[in-house]
Symmetry: C2
Subunit: 448 residues, 2 copies
């Protein structure tokens, strides 16, 4: 992506790119549930709860189907909100092949044998339709595999070489790499960052070709070479639950948490707001009676607050509006990072959301060996549907309560999760507002 | 500042602002040392050290002159590097007046009486001449006082009101403010942010008028209403030294720590590099032999590393180059935040550094009451000259070693500081490179 591309793509008045020749229209992305749910069941613990009138269908993997690391999985479809579950998930073994160098110092795929193996778990929280999440679940792991294969020589070196070929052009090259502190894990982080972007481009092309729309957040965990990488773009969350510790493995990216980045872009490119929005933040949307008053505000460069005298342009709809779960970007979207949404516009306008969205994840690295993880340490990954109704502490309590005595059963986490979340969900849910209740949905991958 | 202003100011091809009518040329900013050094002395402890051939002059306040909170101060002028000391300092009482509302709901300065008092300590590390640091030392506290006076009604309320006048236009206004979590300390943070920007504009105007150049970093501590605020723009550092704890109160802003922000701006506005620099980071500057090779790199969106095939444009000089103390922005500047530098250009080019520099500080807040600070807890503020040769732990050890038994003497910190830093400096200094030695200079304000 270049600045020129950004300007042509998003800014009015820039010369338009040459139109693509019309190709055959691709068929729509077919709706599906995660592959590992084939032959799935409602888990036994959930049976009683599911007879209650307010219960929602819960699915988890069939008893005989073990997920990597005996991970558990349960999903609750919110039938009130949409006909289809917009969320998706994927997991599996990650097989990275090594290709040997030929005499020309170019890749020769003479030896595409499995070389490094890891595991991959992913959750995609869809919005505006299920298509983006389905594409992400079908594609992101392949993008990641390709990105890792492209740097695999660096991954297995003691320290990544300056030149991927291993050739040392300048005698002090290894010293330069060491001074920058570049380690193999930085290549995995880079591969995750690139894979998310590549997948985002694939989704953009596929949805445009099939005439579909939508976007999704993405939360991915990858185990490789003794490390666990958690990459997050959106408002899902992963935590590590240990006997005496709850460790956050991700941060949420929402219009509120990324306010300064978003306001900064609107400052640099005011055209993106088309005169319809104000980039300033106020405690509430201003109205005529506020004109001429000095009110609390903050702009892109401010972490603190100040007062400004209200003029007419401050009465426009705010770029970021609402509080907590209700916070929206351009009145439309509750997340600020994710995949897809290439066609998303503010209702009844030509104002695009995509320029404000990042597909790049933030990546956290856990050194599994160094941490001396125990049998009952569990990583919990879930979309906002779960975290809106249960705190980290409540989830940790649930995990700790259904785990003991069930470690040997590969299905234990799915079963425990299904029944407990279903039980806890509606109760916890009532603590929220009416809107909160209606949009409740939960999805949880639990790794052990 | 608006985006239009930014584009007119920094981007080629944009319509130029109307030229200002030539005014009378202001006289140059007169050189001076901090006011509180009048009648200053070399402290007794430093006498022996100063007889050594490699010693440098040390100044600290005169014995009879107590600084707020009995703060100590010592400065070492690096005579090898420049004739004048480019660094500055300021401290004093901060008197914030309250102005009463009239019937028109406008400020009436009928009652400009002192209302809130606080204290202020500041260090300015100058470069390219002493003028910017002198102006900052003379100006920033006034900017801060003005900014605080403009919001004083909000400062003294239980919670800042939505409208500064206190008028409640919408019955749920207090609730909106509460939901955003806006507290009085956010107004002080906002005032510090605005004061730094205002001071930067003053410096820009004054230096342009007097035909001088230069810039400086700024590290400010303010005590107000039971809180200590530390605002930092640059690579100075403040720490709190307690009996059992060393707590960092600031982060350093350098081309390395702000790499992604700086690369992002170059991505958005490639014109700023005038085709002379590459925004990409490589472990070292590339050369002809690297052409066609795949080498380690990262771009603005990456925290990890990847490999790219080198093309000709990658051989340009890097936007950020060098490592650690040698890291430079556009080959010129070692800091990425500060005041001044409005005229600074890359040598023999028209490429400006100012668009890449931020004058906004990062602000840390300490709740002094809640922390239950003890008599021997000390805040140490110093420029990079000190931190380049002494670690946080070494400085804490020094403070803890010269403090006991001297608490009652207001001069104890200045004296202890002068002698100990002078003793420790040259030894520690020898751990650094030749360039490191030559540019060594230290400045330390110690609050107790």
């Amino acid at each position: 992506m270049s600045a020129g591309w950004f300007r042509r793509r998003f800014l009015p008045g820039e010369p338009l790119p040459a139109p693509r020749p019309p190709g055959p229209r691709a068929s729509p992305v077919p709706y599906q549930r995660p592959r590992f749910l084939r032959g799935s069941c409602s888990s036994p613990g959930a049976a009683e709860a599911s007879r209650r009138p307010d219960s929602r269908p819960v699915r988890s993997p069939a008893r005989g189907r073990a997920l990597p690391w005996n991970a558990g999985y349960a999903e609750i479809i919110n039938a009130e909100k949409s006909e289809f579950n917009e969320d998706q998930a994927a997991c599996g073994k990650l097989c990275i092949r090594r290709c040997e160098f030929g005499a020309e110092e170019e890749w020769l795929t003479l030896c595409p044998e499995e070389f490094l193996t890891g595991h991959y778990w992913a959750l995609f929280d869809g919005h505006g339709g299920p298509a983006a999440a389905i594409l992400a679940a079908n594609t992101l792991h392949s993008c990641l595999r390709r990105q890792l294969e492209a740097v695999v020589e660096g991954l297995v070196a003691t320290r990544p070489p300056m030149h991927l070929s291993g050739r040392c052009i300048c005698p002090s090259d290894p010293q330069f790499v060491e001074e920058k502190g570049i380690k193999a894990e930085d290549l995995v982080i880079g591969a995750l960052e690139s894979a998310f972007q590549e997948c985002d481009e694939v989704i953009g092309r596929e949805l445009e070709a099939s005439g579909q729309v939508g976007g999704c957040t993405a939360l991915v965990a990858v185990s490789l070479q003794g490390k666990l990488y958690v990459a997050n773009a959106g408002d899902s969350r992963a935590i590590l639950v240990r006997r005496d510790e709850i460790r956050p493995l991700s941060s949420e990216f929402t219009p509120e948490t990324e306010r300064q980045r978003i306001q900064q872009l609107a400052f640099v490119y005011p055209e993106l707001l088309a005169g319809e929005f104000t980039r300033l933040e106020f405690p509430r949307r201003l109205k005529g009676d506020d004109l001429g008053q000095k009110v609390l505000f903050r702009d892109h460069h401010m972490r603190g607050w100040s007062y400004k005298r209200v003029d007419k342009s401050d009465l426009k709809y705010p770029l970021i509006h609402g509080q907590g779960r209700q916070a929206r970007l351009l009145g439309t979207l509750a997340v600020s990072r994710g995949l897809g949404d290439h066609q998303l516009r503010v209702l009844d306008t030509n104002i695009q959301l995509k320029p404000f969205l990042l597909s790049v994840p933030q990546v956290t690295v856990l050194d599994v060996d160094q941490l001396e993880l125990q049998e009952d340490d569990v990583v919990v990954m879930a979309t906002d549907g779960l975290w809106d109704v249960l705190s980290n502490e409540q989830v940790a309590w649930l995990v700790r309560s259904f785990l003991p005595g069930n470690q040997e059963d590969p299905h234990s986490l799915s079963a425990g999760w299904s029944s407990q979340v279903l039980e806890a969900g509606p109760d916890a849910d009532t603590q929220h507002t009416g809107e909160g209740r209606r949009s409740h949905r939960g999805r949880a991958g639990v790794l052990r």
